[in-house]
Amino acid sequence: MRHVLSAVVQNQPGVLAQITGMLASRGFNIDSLAVGETEKNDFSRITFVVSGDDAELEQVRKQLDKVITVVKVLDISSENFVERDLMLIKVHSTSHQRTEISLLVEMFRGRVVDVTLDTIMIEVSGQESKIEAFIELMRPYGIVELARTGRIALVRGVSVGGSI
């Protein structure tokens, strides 16, 4: 089963290295990981997407909790949460393909952020499935480059223990 873990950590050097090292040495596989600062300078939020059974996930959560610089870990999969992934994708586009691609971008509520004579760069954000669908649509044009942030997530409303 797919789980989204949201961890608040102390904003210090080496915290991310320790967490990824711990997950690797214990054989936990991460599907996606995103880090960024939070509303407080002293803390960062790390969002993980991990697959595994409940027992495995319980172990991941407890091992994360054991890291001294990890302030809080929540498995938000069962909560009502918003999840987003941001992608920048550059595809081949001749001048007469631009309109067609722009139409698709609009349907996905994306934005064209750069255009050259033979390429076009697009920004799309949303849930994983939406991003993947867009990638599939772009494939026939020829994908030049692609970058994704990895998933970030927050629980809706005032969540149980969600704030720092």
Binding site: Q10, G14, Q18, G21, S25, Q59, K62, Q63, K66
Partner: protein, 626 residues
Amino acid sequence: MLNNCYKLIVSLQLVLTDYLLKQDRIPKETEQLIMSRFMESTLTNVSGTKQSGADILVEAMIRQGVDTVFAYPGGASMPIHQSLTKVEDRVRTILPRNEQGGGFMAHGYARTTGKVGVCLATSGPGATNFVTILADAKMDSIPVIAITGQVSTPVIGTDAFQETPIVEICRPITKHHYLVQRTEDIPRIIKEAFYIANSGRPGPVIIDIPKDLQQKEIVVDTYDPPMNLPGYNPERHIAQENLRRILQEIRQAKKPIIYGGGGIIHSGAAPALRQFAESTGIPVALTLHGLGGFPSNHYLCLQMLGMHGTVYSNYAINDADLLLAFGVRFDDRVTGKLSEFAKHGRIVHIDADASELNKNKHAHVAINGDLAKAIAGLNELLQKEEYADIVGGGRYPDWMRQIDTWREQEPMRFHDRDDAILPQYAIQRMHQIIAEKGKLDKTIITTGVGQHQMWSAQYFPYSKPRTWITSGGLGTMGFGLPAAIGAKAAHPDHLVIDIDGDGSFLMNIQELACAYTEKLPVKVLLLNNQHLGMVVQWEDRFHGGNRGHTYLGAGQKQLPYPDFVTIAQGFKIKSRQIARKSDFDAAIEEMIDSDTTFVLDVLVPYQEHVLPMIPSGKTVRDIIKA
């Protein structure tokens, strides 16, 4: 402003006092008066004088109760050693002969006292020599703080001489780690490190301090700054409701057993455990690290369980309908094949580390918290009228009868010989002699790793916590001698004996120099079989006896190699070699009665196997009996 004036006055006063003292112009009483005011001023942190980072570090450690450090100097840690020379009246600095030796001395100190053990090394190779002792402390939950010098901040990351990113290396093998970034942070980091090392599930902390930060001079505002540990809260409230669930499990059980581990020792739960076992009449089986947590001569004690545990404790665990797992982690050396371990019973698991609960084995009742508090809570509930049916003992007559039958049929045994000194005999007999001398109460045993370690667990009964010191989880050869020296430093009035093997002993033999020069007289009972006995045993059992580099001697028809007596002499340490059983008693007495360090080299046959044995990954049905 006022504060600053006060600081100025105090420092002037100090300078004046110092001057007058040197001139010998102050009467003793006045000196004391002035000194007491000085002490007061340092305690209220307004001394106002600048201190170097190294001085601050040492001062902060003294305030944490440090009285001994095990330290090997080098370029990047010199300033700390210079500071240590200023406080020789308050902190004893013991010089090992290899940083790993110093680290294991800190283990010996910590494991026998329950206090934090401190070791110190320089950067680079000094620091990397701490890797093993940190991994060992992590596995066995030992509060050790390793302080390492680091190259100066401007050259960090330039592959400078003796630069190693030791914090990067040690992250997964420590409970926490610090690379000091500012001299100002030292008081807080020391306070946090000592708190982390010895609270919750204890563990090692490494503090890496660049040399320029050791030298930088600052004025310390306070030695008691607030800690910045928002993610660390080891205090767990144990709900009474959960304790009641345990008692309910006990009420329904017909064949309960306690499976007790190192958590008993770490949390100081031994007295509470004894009360609990006696009032409920539930028998106790102990892990390697649980030994000493419950008196071995107690009727309810089933001794050690697991791979080399007693047959009857393993039978009992297998047959039990309720397993009370107290301060244990379901290690593979205990469980064998996990799916078969204690599969007939329900499981109650109490541990200080939440991640141990349900890690290897599902627990029906899992409680995260301090074991001593949890058992005390159970004992308190047991006083209540509603649990009168559980207490009083004698609730499990059939179960205890069954256990007694196993105990009679399958006692610990070995086939003794008269033409040789068997290692089992040596340990058993040494215990008797110590008991006859009335010194058992003040005896600490340490070991290396291998056959001799298991025999020391099997044939030397332990009755008090922190008297049995061994590297269990990591299984580090070479642990015994330095651990004994550290234990002796903490307990000068105790008889400290390292029961060692020839392979293990050779791994840190250089510490004989430390024992001699620091006047820490430890004893070494060297069970010398010229082989890596435990690996030999596995070769015999699983590889048709083919020797894969497990012979340590110099060849057939040669004298035993190396000549440990001559080596000891080179270190100016008394030593004797024996091979005949008839010489054993006198030699042991000489060793025990000697007031200096003593190495007793006992030649033993290598053919002996540690039994009983449940082969790795197997079950109690596969047990090999003696």
